[in-house]
Symmetry: C2
Subunit: 270 residues, 2 copies
C-alpha cells in the first residue's frame, strides 16, 4: 500500500514538474538550440526587380564629419513594391483582397514548410511544378496553418540577372514556377495555408503571360513571397517563419524581411 | 530498500518526462498562450519623418482591370531611411559602425524590456529621462542580451505632427528623450544591450542640437529604433522582440517591422 502511494505521488510529481518547468518562449528561443536563418536578399542597386517596377535606388543625402568631429550619414531611397525579396498582398491581383498593412500578424508568424524540388528542377528553366512532383511532401500538414516555400534551386543565379530571369532574345523570361494545377490543388486542399513562397522572381513560371498562379493565390486570400533567398540549407519541417514586410498601409506588395527559426541541425557523423 | 529504488526511479522518470516533452518552438508559439503585438506605425503619406528626410511617397503605377476581367495593381514608393517606425544602424552616427544589412539576426531577435516611464513624463514635452527615474527597472537584467524600449507615452500624439514633434514657432522641436547621463550609464553598465527604442521621433530629446544619445549609442555599437508604436499595453518583461528592418545593404537606417511576442495577459478579476 505504501509503495502504491509512493508511485502515485511520484507520477503526480512528474506531471507537476513538467508543468512548472513549462519553458517560456524566451527560454526556448535563446537556449542555444535554434538557428536564425535570413532568407532575404539585400537591397542595393543590383537587386533584381520585376522590369515594370522601379529598381531600388539610393541617394546619399548626408555623409559628413561635423564640426565636433562626429560622423553623420543618412540616405533617401526609392523602389517598386515588387522586387528583391518581397511580399505580394492579395490585393495585387484581387480587387477585393487585403493590402499589405492589413495582413494580420497571425498569418505572418507561422510554421514554415520547405518543399525542396531543386533536384527535380536540375537547373532547367523550363521546369513547371506539377502535382506529381510533390510526392507526399504536404501530406502530414493538412489542417494546420502554415506557409510553404518551394525551393527550385534558383537563388544561386540571383547575382546573374540574365540567368536568374532567363531573359530571351525577344525580352521575355524563362525560369521555373508553379503550374495552375498545383495552385488550384494547394488552395482547394489546404485551407489553412497562409502564403506561398518561391526562390525565383514569380510564383508563375517566367514564360507565363496571364499569371494564373498569382490570380488563384490572390483569390484564395493568400500572399506570395518572391525572390526568397534559399541558398542555405533549411529543414523541410520544424522551422518557424517570420514573414515581416515593410508596413506599407496601402501596398499591393512590400519589401520583406524573411527569417526562418530552425532547430539546430546536429552534424551527421559516419 | 525497495522504496528507495521506487523513489529514485520516479525521480529519474520526472526528469526524463520533462526532457522528452521539451516542447518545440512551434509548440510553444502556437499553443494559444502568446499574443503577437505590432509595434509598427503604418507607412502612408501622413507618416512622420525627420524633416531633413524625404517623406514617404507612393506612386500608383498600375491599377487596372485586364481584358480577361482580372485585377492588377502595383506601386512605386520613395522615402528617407529615418521616418516612421525605423531603425538607426550604428553607422548613422559612427563612421566605423555597421550598416543595416550587416546587423546580425541574433541582435534582432532578442528578449524585450519595456521601461514604462509614461506616468512620470505625464505628457510633458520637456521631460528628459534621468537615471533616478528608472528606479530598479533594469536591475534584474544585467548580463543578458536584451533590447529596451522606453515608453514616454508619446504614441498617442502620432497622428498630430505638431504635437508629436512639439514644433515651436522658430521651427525647432520639443519632445521627451533620454539624457546623456542615461545613455552613458546604459551603454557602460549593460554590455549585452543590443538596441534602444523610444516612442518618440528621436532617442535624444526634441530640443537637442548635438544628439549625444545617438552618438553614445552608435559608438557602443547599439542600434536605435524610433517612433515605436506603443499605444498598446505590453508587459515590461517576458516578451520577445522581432526587430526586422528592410535589409538595405548600405543603409544608415531603414523602415522597421517591430513585433513583440508576449505571454497572453490573464484579465484581472476583482
Amino acid at each position: 500500500m505504501f509503495n502504491l502511494i509512493v508511485v502515485l505521488f511520484c507520477a503526480f510529481n512528474s506531471i507537476v514538474f513538467a508543468f512548472v518547468h513549462s519553458p517560456s518562449l524566451n527560454d526556448v528561443l535563446f537556449n542555444g538550440g535554434y538557428d536564425f536563418i535570413d532568407l532575404t536578399h539585400s537591397f542595393d542597386k543590383s537587386t533584381i526587380y520585376w522590369p515594370t517596377m522601379k529598381n531600388f535606388t539610393f541617394t546619399e543625402k548626408f555623409k559628413e564629419i561635423s564640426e565636433d568631429g562626429s560622423w553623420y550619414a543618412a540616405n533617401n531611397f526609392a523602389a517598386g513594391e515588387h522586387g528583391g525579396t518581397h511580399l505580394d498582398a492579395p490585393y495585387h491581383f484581387n480587387l477585393n483582397g487585403i493590402r499589405v498593412g492589413a495582413i494580420p500578424l497571425d498569418k505572418l508568424i507561422v510554421p514554415l514548410i520547405v518543399a525542396d524540388i531543386s533536384s527535380k528542377v536540375n537547373d532547367d528553366p523550363n521546369f513547371v511544378l506539377q502535382k506529381h512532383h510533390l510526392d507526399n511532401m504536404l501530406n502530414n500538414n493538412f489542417g494546420k496553418p502554415f506557409y510553404i516555400v518551394f525551393k527550385f534551386g534558383w537563388s544561386k543565379f540571383f547575382d546573374d540577372r540574365d540567368r536568374y530571369l532567363g531573359i530571351q532574345a525577344n525580352g521575355t523570361f524563362n525560369f521555373p514556377g508553379l503550374s495552375e494545377e498545383v495552385a488550384e490543388w494547394i488552395t482547394s486542399s489546404y485551407k489553412n495555408i497562409v502564403g506561398i513562397g518561391v526562390d525565383t522572381a514569380s510564383v508563375d513560371p517566367g514564360s507565363s503571360i496571364d499569371f494564373p498562379v498569382h490570380k488563384i493565390a490572390s483569390a484564395a486570400g493568400l500572399f506570395n513571397t518572391e525572390n526568397v533567398k534559399l541558398d542555405v540549407t533549411v529543414p523541410d519541417y520544424g522551422c518557424t517563419a517570420l514573414i515581416l514586410p515593410m508596413k506599407i498601409a496601402s501596398g499591393t506588395g512590400a519589401p520583406l524581411r524573411l527569417v526562418a527559426i530552425c532547430p539546430k541541425q546536429v552534424p551527421t557523423r559516419f
